[in-house]
């Protein structure tokens, strides 16, 4: 059929249909395009996430295994000075026993024992010291001690250092590698889960370093932050949202809270330095100090989250309560706050999770010292997870880098747990109206 055969009305109709089809096609194309952009963005984000987590995982997973050696140690009486147990060199005793096990003897210059000491952790020496203190009759006997290999030796067992690595890079001599092989062949070395890493605190020796002290420090600091920021933030937000008159002053306060939420965290560190350390003399490097600074930092976020949770409660609920003769306070505490609870809790938990990972303000208040123990009180010196990561990252020994990644994994696990709690809280308390 040709155009000529169509009446004007028919051709107009056909044109209209063609136009509408073209419009439809354009719409489909636009939708397809948008879907493609959206998916591409998500895939890109996921790719970066996988890359990040993958790298950290690959670098850190090996920390969670370590190699321990169990040795029969001959505690020779001539090496023990009962008057000064601490002054006795038990590491040498351990090294000599290990050499004896391999059928070797020390040379006059003590080079063999020194090299042996460099692959066995000093932890075993301390174990002997402790046991002798408890039971002096062990002198002259053979006791079995079990302890970790030095971090470099473990790296060799894990395959991260091999004979092909140049000697300068592996920090182990050929003789030490031979010994390591032989020890493993004799079955005195066993690999297992690295409990040391989870149960000990920072140490100068990587094989004895752990995150427990930092975990406890972080928990204490977060406790201080939560105890301060959550109630103050929730009450302030409730007052501002439900009770305060709406005037210029409350507008100014609102704007300033929003601004504070955008202030870089390091500024809070400066503030903490000036106010808490110089003025209030809060002990440096303590969980209390860190908690105070992070509480200041979290307050604006908590206030903002709480206010939006309160605003999401429908006004009809307030009217209903007021209309049966509830006072303003009763209305808020009996009806509005319970309904806003899931939103408020989520806001609080998320901002605490944020505080858990905060490093900059803590560095500012000097929370960056080497703390070998687990903090006992809120005012004792402590380190926290992100700062521990920072410290280890700057350490020179190779085994610490492995531990940096592992500490990041521990931190991420805590973050994920907190986010999970936030989701569960929201699910659990969510109500419809």
């Amino acid at each position: 059929m040709t155009d000529a055969a169509l009446t004007p009305a028919q051709s107009a109709k056909a044109r209209a249909r063609a136009e509408s089809e073209a419009r439809l096609k354009r719409r489909y194309r636009a939708e397809a395009r948008f879907r493609f952009y959206g998916r591409a963005a998500i895939i890109l984000a996921l790719a970066f996430l996988v890359l990040l987590l993958g790298r950290i995982g690959l670098q850190g997973y090996s920390t969670f295994t370590d190699y321990r050696v169990s040795l029969p140690v001959q505690v020779n009486a001539d090496r023990v000075d009962m008057a000064d147990l601490g002054g006795s060199n038990f590491n040498l005793t351990v090294a000599e026993s290990a050499l004896a096990l391999l059928g070797e003897t020390d040379d006059p210059y003590g080079e063999a024992s020194a090299e042996m000491m460099a692959i066995l952790s000093g932890d075993m020496g301390f174990q002997i010291l402790d046991r002798l203190r408890e039971d002096p009759s062990l002198v002259g006997q053979t006791i079995t001690v079990q302890g970790p290999m030095k971090a470099n030796a473990s790296l060799y067992y894990k395959g991260q250092i091999s004979r092909d690595t140049e000697v300068g890079g592996r920090l182990l001599s050929d003789r030490q590698l031979d010994w390591l092989d032989e020890l493993r062949e004799r079955g005195v070395v066993s690999g297992g889960f690295n409990w040391t890493f989870l149960s000990r605190s920072d140490s100068t020796e990587p094989e004895q370093a752990g995150v427990w002290g930092a975990v406890v420090g972080s928990a204490m600091m977060l406790f201080v932050t939560a105890m301060l920021a959550a109630p103050i933030g929730v009450l302030a937000a409730t007052y501002l949202e439900e009770f305060a008159p709406k005037n210029r002053w409350t507008d100014i306060i609102e704007v300033n809270i929003n601004n504070l939420a955008a202030v870089p965290s390091i500024i809070y560190g400066l503030l903490g330095l000036a106010v808490f350390i110089n003025w209030l003399a809060v002990p440096r490097s303590s969980p209390l100090l860190g908690g105070l600074v992070l509480a200041l930092m979290s307050l604006p976020t908590i206030i903002i989250a709480t206010r939006s949770a309160l605003r999401a409660v429908p006004p009809s609920i307030r009217e209903a309560a007021l209309a049966v003769g509830a006072s303003r306070t009763q209305t808020v505490f009996h009806h509005v706050l319970p309904l806003a609870m899931p939103g408020m809790m989520t806001g609080v938990i998320l901002s605490l999770a944020h505080a858990l990972g905060e490093t900059a303000p803590l560095l500012m208040i000097g929370m960056v010292s080497f703390v070998p123990g687990v903090p006992e009180t809120l005012t004792s010196a402590a380190t926290v997870l992100p700062v521990q990561i920072f410290i280890w990252e700057n350490a020179s020994e190779r085994a610490f880098h492995e531990r940096t990644a592992a500490a990041i994994i521990v931190l991420l696990v805590f973050m994920v747990l907190m986010n999970l709690v936030a989701v569960l809280v929201r699910r659990r308390f969510e109500r419809r109206w």
Partner: protein
């Protein structure tokens, strides 16, 4: 030109044509359980009510009718001082409840709201159990000394609201799980539970289907024997069915008020006539 900027003197004149209200002052209080005199309401700079005077007698239903935005809800909210909770709202004039000025300094708005219950357009039960919804008011006002007394109040309130049979076996179910009509009756039960003297209803049926509406209307008719009821409605038929007195609001003023029969059969003002015959509004 906004509706509010009309010359208000003419409205005042027409409003006062209601014969029963001709005399002014305290003697008016004798006429109604609730008696409003020259009530004006301002939202900020904007005036929403212009010198409204109206009597709402006890044991009767007073219907407030009029086009949207003419100030019916605003007037209703004056009677339980809910306007107090709106920032920037100001109420002038006198509202007498049982001979007492409710805007007096000595009157506590919270206690007043226990005496003057309110039912809203959209059913707004608390997101709590049916029992809790009704028990909340009596509990905060200390009406019950123990659990049995509280349960009795809940039961009798639900019975009076005509809801007991439907919910007796699921008092612990959430109030929000009920149907719209049931929710509205639950809300009425909640208002009744604090033994109010006046019940204000702001378009209580406009979100309901005809069957639920019929039930509420029946309920209002039952409740009339015990309370002073003021109801805002958009439906002329509803006003005619449930009310004994009617006030026609227009642009923030009462144009005409009187016995419902009178207003509907023999309106004196042409605007009233136009409105009830559906010519505007």
């Amino acid at each position: 030109m906004t509706p509010m900027s009309n010359p208000r003197s003419s409205f005042k004149m027409t409003a006062q044509r209601d014969d029963a209200l001709a005399s002014a002052g305290t003697s008016r209080a004798a006429v109604g359980k609730v008696s409003a005199t020259d009530v004006s309401v301002f939202y900020g700079d904007k005036q929403a009510l212009f010198d409204v005077s109206l009597d709402m007698p006890d044991r009767m239903v007073t219907a407030l009718i009029g086009p949207s935005g003419c100030g019916k809800s605003t007037f209703l909210r004056c009677i339980n001082r809910m306007n107090d909770t709106i920032p920037g709202a100001r109420v002038d004039g006198k509202i007498i409840l049982d001979g007492e000025d409710i805007n007096d300094r000595k009157v506590d708005p919270v206690l007043l709201r226990a005496r003057v219950g309110m039912v809203f357009q959209k059913p707004n039960p608390f997101p709590k159990s049916i029992f809790e919804n009704v028990a909340y008011g009596p509990r905060i006002h200390g009406f019950a000394d123990n659990k049995t007394e509280l349960a009795d109040i809940v039961e009798s309130s639900l019975k009076r609201a005509g809801l007991w049979k439907e919910v007796a076996d699921r008092l612990q179910a959430p109030g929000t799980s009920l149907s719209g009509g049931q929710q509205q009756r639950l809300v009425i039960a909640r208002a009744i539970a604090v033994s109010p003297e006046v019940i204000l209803m702001d378009e209580p049926c406009s979100a309901l289907d005809p069957i639920a509406t019929a039930k509420i209307e029946e309920l209002i008719d039952d409740l009339r024997s015990q309370y002073c009821i003021v109801i805002v409605t958009h439906s002329m038929a509803q006003a005619a069915r449930v009310s004994q007195r009617t006030a026609f609001f227009h642009m923030g003023a009462v144009v005409e008020a009187g016995a419902t029969d009178e207003i509907f059969t023999n309106p004196r003002d042409t605007r009233t006539q136009d409105y009830i015959t559906g010519r505007f509004g």
